[in-house]
Amino acid sequence: MSDPVFECRSASVTLSLSGGARPIISDINLDIQQAEFLSIVGPSGTGKTTLLRMLGGLLHPTSGEVRVNGAILTGPPEGVVIVFQDYANALLQWRTVAANVAFGIERKLPAKECTDRVNAALDLVGLSRRAEDYPWQLSGGMQQRVQIARALALRPAVMLMDEPFAALDAMTKAGLQDELLRLRDQTRTSFVFITHDIEEAVYLGDRVAVLKGSPGRIEDIVKIELPSLRDQISTRQMPEFLAYRYGLHKAIGHG
């Protein structure tokens, strides 16, 4: 196997808050390979978002280290993009949908290529017809798709996604899940995908990491050995799928 894209070596984050220092995540050991889809599940408040912000270079580990392509992380790495959980605040509300999607590339690419990429990304998330609207005129699910399109337009090597589908209806969600898997196969993008939906974690993931406790630690990493071509209906009915689901529910502590 080639070198991992991301490596965490006993990385911890401690925040100094008004009530004193507070460990949020602790002793995180994690490798992420190229073209790998890593799901992370865990109860809310265990530090999933904090972990993702650390990988995205927005937060420095207070101890341990994080490496991207072998180099120690010092800030947001090139080719890594975050899709934030809080889509309403992550979008530039005064820009049209198209201009939001262009935000990550407009300063780097010629106008023509920029437009092409924006159109392609909007097409992928099914928002071509809303390109000239403003985010505040869209539903929550649509706004989140704008944010996903903005990340895709960058053609990143790694996508860090924080509960990206929580605001979507089941149909749209299923479509976008398959779109992400297809993208991974086509572009060899790596995904770190946080979700509270265990089924979603198993359906998408090559591996599922369970984050638990306070401070949050990686309790377990489960390798998902399902056929790599996933199908919304048949995959979800396989006995193995159900077994993974059951095991993860137990690991999180849902009885």
């Binding site: 912000r53 995205g56 270079g57 927005l58 800030g75 947001p76 090139e78 993009v81 975050i82 934030f84 809080d86 605040n89 992550a90 530039l92 509300q93 005064w94 820009r95 935000f103 990550g104 300063r107 000239e132 609207d133 403003y134 505040w136 005129q137 869209l138 539903s139 929550g140 649509m142």
Partner: protein
């Protein structure tokens, strides 16, 4: 939840900025009554017809138009400079707590200074001219813009700043593409508060120093006991303010069309 772009409502919103013609009726009524009741030529309460003749007289000497233009120029240029200074300082203060702390006492001190009090000092440094007029207007009118901008910058959602960091924006790009646009409604609110202030200060400085402008005409009229002309100039100034305010409201409505209606401070 999903809402189509309002096309007609926008035109409606623009027209709403225009004052209702009905609102002027009471004013007209008062003026008519005044005209009818005021028979003799009172030096304190001259009838509206005397206001008009006063203005015509002033126009005939060829002093009115240049004075109006001079005042208007100070107001507009002052507005532009006050906005530029207020936004720039507001952004710097809002973005960095260290700058805010370092400049805080100085700014509080300057803000507490009543504008008329700095007129003598400004004359000392700059002499009796347009630059002095502008300096006083800009220094005094930039506060509402500065304070509105700074506090709105401090309230920018941290996630939005994370987005800027994550997309590798430089310091300048953060300000230009994220910070300033996201606080645009507050900046415009500040400008809106500053506009009448600019008018008041322009006239005040003209009255105090007799530098060319409508204010200087007013003080001259008062000294010459031309009360009709004084009232006429007062009405003119009122119309000035009214007109500028309406134009600005329209510009504001056009710019803010792109911002979420919720985010626009009243």
């Amino acid at each position: 939840m999903s809402q189509r772009l309002p096309k007609f409502p926008f035109l409606g919103r623009l027209l709403m900025q225009l004052p209702s013609p009905l609102g002027v009726l009471p004013l007209i009524a008062v003026l008519i009554v005044w005209q009818i009741l005021q028979k003799g030529n009172s030096p304190y309460f001259p009838p509206p017809s005397a206001w008009w003749s006063g203005i015509v007289q002033s126009a005939a000497t060829g002093k009115l138009l240049p004075a109006c233009l001079a005042s208007l120029q100070t107001i507009l240029v002052g507005m532009v400079l006050a906005t530029a200074a207020g936004v720039m300082l507001g952004v710097l203060i809002g973005l960095s707590r260290r700058t805010a702390r370092a400049l805080g006492p100085l700014l509080e001190f300057c803000r507490a200074m009543p504008p008329p009090a700095i007129v003598p000092l400004a004359i000392l440094f700059l002499g009796y001219d347009e630059r002095m007029k502008l300096t006083i207007v800009v220094i005094s009118a930039m506060w509402p813009i500065l304070l509105n901008t700074a506090s709105a910058i401090q309230r920018i959602h941290p996630i939005l700043l994370d987005v800027a960091t994550s997309f590798h924006l430089s310091f300048y790009e953060r300000i230009r593409f994220v910070a300033i646009p996201s606080v645009m409604p507050s900046i415009l609110l500040g400008v809106r508060i500053a506009l009448p202030l600019t008018i008041v200060l322009t006239l005040l400085v003209e009255i105090l120093t007799s530098i060319e402008g409508v204010g200087a005409l007013m003080i001259t009229a008062q000294r010459n006991f031309q009360s009709g002309q004084l009232y006429g100039l007062l009405v003119l100034v009122g119309l000035f303010g009214f007109f500028l305010n309406t134009v600005f409201s329209m510009i504001q409505a056009i710019i803010l069309r792109r911002w979420p209606p919720r985010s626009i401070p009243a």
